[in-house]
């Protein structure tokens, strides 16, 4: 798949992501926020695709956009929205928020200005396209086997925890 109009799509998707991200934190209605977040995630998936990482893109869509966000929406829909609209958001933590945002901003600026020296110059060589998924797989199940298993154990614990918590209510 030869890329077409790469800069155009890159800027389009980035803009979409930024707008989505801003909407997530500015919308009062949580459902709108969630939908904005989904937009961001989908745009991100498209950027992965542009970076020749189709597998990550697919997983992003299936897991985040299709799975997790649906569950988010599920919960949000059940909560009375009228009340949350009236509430002021993050009213008690704005100070911490400002500090964190400044710190992050500083970091980004630092990376941007020093970027050339931090990273090797030029675009990374693209792996042969057909290998993508296999290489992810062999890395996951080979080199990073241990951390992969730990992560899955963590998820297992989370599942059991969720079941236990749900059972309590029954």
């Amino acid at each position: 798949m030869a890329p077409v109009a790469t800069p155009f799509f890159f800027y389009l998707l980035s803009a979409l992501m930024l707008v989505g991200g801003i909407l997530v934190i500015t919308r009062k209605n949580p459902v709108h926020s969630a939908l904005a977040l989904i937009t961001t995630l989908l745009a991100q998936a498209a950027i992965y695709l542009m970076l020749y990482a189709p597998f990550v893109a697919g997983v992003q869509i299936i897991l985040y956009a299709g799975g997790i966000m649906v569950l988010f929406l599920f919960v949000i829909m059940l909560v009375s929205i009228d009340r949350s609209i009236k509430e002021r958001q993050f009213n008690s933590q704005w100070l911490i928020g400002v500090v964190a945002a400044t710190a992050l901003g500083g970091l980004l600026i630092a990376v941007y200005t020093k970027g050339a020296s931090l990273f090797p110059g030029g675009p990374v060589t693209v792996a042969a396209e057909g290998d993508n998924t296999q290489r992810v797989a062999s890395l996951l199940y080979g080199q990073y086997m241990f951390s992969f298993e730990i992560a899955s154990l963590l998820l297992l614990v989370a599942i059991i925890g969720a079941v236990v918590m749900a059972k309590k209510r029954i």
Partner: protein
Amino acid sequence: MTNQNTLSHVDLETPEKPFLDANELVINMGPQHPATHGVLRVILRLDGEKVLGLECVIGYLHRGVEKIGEHRTYTMFNPYVDRMDYVAAVSNGLGYCETVEKLLNVEAPPRAQHVRVILTELNRIASHQLWLGTHALDIGAITPLFYTFRDREEILKIYEKYCGARLTTHAFRIGGLQYETYAGFEKEVKNFLNFFRPKIDEYEELLTTNRIWLERTKGVGKISAQDCIALGVTGPVLRASGMKWDLRKAQPYACYKNFDFEIPIGQNGDTYDRYLVRMVEMRQSVRIIEQALGALPEGPIMAKVPKVMKPPAGEVYHSIEAPKGELGYFIVSDGSTQPYRVRVRPPSFVNLQALDLMCRGQLVADVIAVIGTLDIVLGEVDR
């Protein structure tokens, strides 16, 4: 039997625990809802999909039949009763005619009684067919509806030929029948029976062993015989709970005591048992009609009743086994040509009371199934 009065009544007013405001959802089902069989309005209180309780709001079809009855002569009121349970109009007519006959102290001649039994049992089949079709449709099986309507058509044709009307037939008159059976009546009824017997098997093939049907109906809307009696629930619902009680046997009217038939009963009192009971009832109705046809006597079809009916003052309660349960008429006469008071004891109305009990703790989808299985007709509930 019902010494203790333990209705597992849950208090509808119990305040619910607030859980993210998400715990309770009040849903208004009806009066214009495809599955409430007419203008029944049910207010459901749900926890997610679980029913915490419900309240029926009825009366949308109230036409004041009882009031009308006080202002019509006995004969004039006869067609009105057809408009109550319009699915089983013939049964309604039978109940009314027999009650007035009791007041007048006359009895319909044997031939009339036999024809009455034939038509009433055909009506029971028709009513059950309609129930089966709509009930299955509520549970999501579309096809049985069309099968039952196809076969019900044959019954309606017989009615149409006999008295010119298909639905609100006004088939009987006080004291007997207005019309002699038409030529070929017996043959046509017999043909229908032969045509219909395999059709019951066809319905059963579609549903009785269908896994999804079993899952949707078994254990759904359970009600014990004890609760049935306490709530006055009669008909197939009571029988499916294991109570062997049918007015046709318990207090035979018309000429039912001449016929040999069985009362099907269920054990669990769930929706599936009610389904089975009604299926067997259709078969039994076929049996009764066959016997009645075989024993159809010759003779007059009308007893001696005065042109202007003035039953002596008095009051009478008489009830018959309508397809939906005990259908009773309580008529007070003051010696004039008009009833002083007509009270109809509609089976659907009383049976509907049990809906709340049967639905507690079930899911929304089960409410639909239970409304279907109660087999209510709103024309009769609201009168």
